[in-house]
């Protein structure tokens, strides 16, 4: 099975080292090689869209076939996709939407502007209701740490809205009092924690990359070892 295991491992090693080495070799040949390779990556990236579409349709076909709870909603995935593909392909006789002009709204764009945008925005806006409800039910100062978190959250939330300037002016004679405290919280405790997480993640990515390049980590090839 050398062609299934050895060749992929050698390719990963070669391209991994080449990608790493490119940064230290400012030769035109190295740049030309990199340009060719990135073109290949972009082409391969295009196939990811087809894999994504296949995966989505496969999942919904399975839901319909097995009559899983809520299977009828899956029909709308196909209806929506078919509608948009049809409008794209046969939009005023134009092949796809290759010749749109500034200011001209095609039926494809109309569906995007007046169906997709409001639907997506509606789904996202529901979050506000859940956050308010969850904050009321779960955000409790049960101990000192929770109290600190709660106080920080309230100050940052308040400092982010313009009305805090009126309150700051009234209470402390400084319109930016809350905004200033909010910035201090974001600039120091928040930044320190985020930086620690970033450094940890980055070290993890480096070590994982080295494990993959040198063939120690092979789970991406399937088989589990």
């Amino acid at each position: 099975m050398w062609y299934k295991r050895t060749i992929p491992l050698l390719l990963v090693l070669a391209f991994g080292l080449a990608g790493f080495g490119h940064d230290y070799v400012p030769h035109p040949a190295s740049n030309a090689f990199r340009e060719e390779v990135t073109t290949g990556f972009v082409i391969i990236g295009g196939f990811a869209l087809f894999i994504g579409a296949y995966s989505l349709f496969h999942m919904h076909i399975s839901r319909i076939r097995r009559k899983q709870p809520g299977w009828a909603y899956s029909i709308f995935v196909f209806l929506g996709a078919a509608l948009m593909v049809c409008l794209g392909l046969w939009n005023d006789g134009d092949w796809m939407f290759v010749d749109p002009q500034p200011g001209v709204v095609t039926s494809f764009q109309w569906c995007y502007d007046y169906i997709l945008v409001p639907c997506n925005a509606t789904i996202f806006s529901i979050l506000a209701f859940f956050i308010a409800s969850a904050a009321f039910r779960t955000f409790r100062a049960r101990n000192f740490s929770a109290l600190l978190l709660l106080a920080a959250a309230v100050v940052v939330m308040f400092g982010r809205v313009p009305v805090s300037e009126r309150v700051g002016q009234f209470l402390f004679d400084s319109p930016n009092a809350f905004a200033h405290v909010s910035e201090i919280l974001l600039n120091y405790p928040n930044l320190a924690a985020k930086r620690a997480i970033l450094l940890g993640v980055s070290l993890g990515v480096i070590s994982q990359s080295l494990r993959i390049i040198f063939g120690i980590e092979r789970t991406y090839m399937g088989g589990g070892d």
């Binding site: 340009e35 990135t38 945008v117 409001p118 997506n120 925005a121 039910r137 809205v161 313009p162 930044l191």
Partner: protein
């Protein structure tokens, strides 16, 4: 231990009351046309404004609108404000997206900004000459790397199908290395991607716009100087609108956002007052 039916009913009622209050807090300010008045723009928005404002006319600026309609309310006002500023200063914006579902949103923002330029300053902006809508290409990180090698082979045509090779708006721009400033507006990890694979590697300055929930994650990049400025959430958009003195959807949304934030603060405080009283009376352990 099963929760009593009466408690469940009361919890459901409280939840519904909260939903109604949130709906009222968001909708009423729009209907009543409540305005929060003038406010002081934040320091990170001001830095980004000053950076863009300092560029001479004709400078090419890449704007990457990496979001889809889910983040339209927060991020579209930012994109529009930035493009208005670019057109006011006669900069040449190059707009792209890494989201296939964000393509028409980018197109709409660009067309709105072109209309505004004509209406507000009488400057007619022409595609290919004064701006380019590059559109979407697949590739993610690899697309950024490819743009760093050759932008015109990464985008051989613009959104309208016009070849980019001799495009006047792209004159003098071979790759990302030839750009002074790139601004990414994102609802995902694209800000980090642009910094790691773009700004750090190809040497351009980078500014960002992000949803409010993401903005705190980006503070380390401001501190290290890897970002020249940051617009965080709808407030960031409102700040930029105040800086360019062109009110838009960001400013309009501030009254609703203020009401919603105040409501959440009041709810949290009320819940905690109730919690403390219940704890003191021995009805709740914590």
């Amino acid at each position: 231990m099963p929760v009593p039916a009466a408690s469940l009913k009361r919890l459901a009622m409280i939840r519904h009351v909260i939903y109604l209050l949130v709906a009222a807090a968001v909708i009423v300010p729009f209907i009543a046309r409540l305005h929060v008045g003038d406010f002081q723009p934040g320091p990170h928005a001001t830095k980004l404004y000053k950076k863009l404002d300092s560029l001479p006319a004709g400078t090419r600026v890449l704007l990457s609108f990496d979001f889809d309609p889910g983040s339209d309310a927060e991020l579209t006002p930012m994109g529009l404000a930035l493009l208005r500023h670019c057109f006011k200063k006669d900069l040449v914006p190059l707009v792209m997206t890494n989201y296939p579902a964000g393509l028409d949103l980018a197109r709409k923002i660009m067309e709105d900004a072109v209309d505004d330029s004509q209406k507000l300053w009488g400057k007619k902006k022409v595609s290919g000459r004064d701006y380019v809508l590059l559109g979407f290409r697949p590739g993610q990180v690899n697309l950024v790397l490819k743009m760093g090698e050759n932008l015109k082979t990464a985008f051989e045509t613009d959104y309208y199908g016009k070849p980019t090779v001799d495009m006047r708006a792209l004159k003098g721009v071979r790759s990302l290395k030839d750009l002074k400033l790139v601004i990414g507006i994102s609802s995902s990890a694209w800000v980090e991607t642009w910094i790691i694979y773009g700004a750090d590697r190809f040497g351009f300055e980078y500014g960002a716009g992000a949803t409010a929930v993401m903005a705190p994650d980006l503070y380390p990049f401001l501190d290290t100087g890897q970002m020249v400025g940051l617009l965080g959430g709808l407030r960031g958009a409102a700040d930029y609108e105040a800086l360019i003195k062109q009110r838009g959807r960001g400013t309009l949304g501030m009254s609703a956002q203020s009401a919603a934030h105040l409501l959440v603060i009041v709810l949290v405080l009320a819940a905690n007052v109730r919690f403390v009283f219940r704890r003191l009376s021995g009805r709740e352990k914590g």
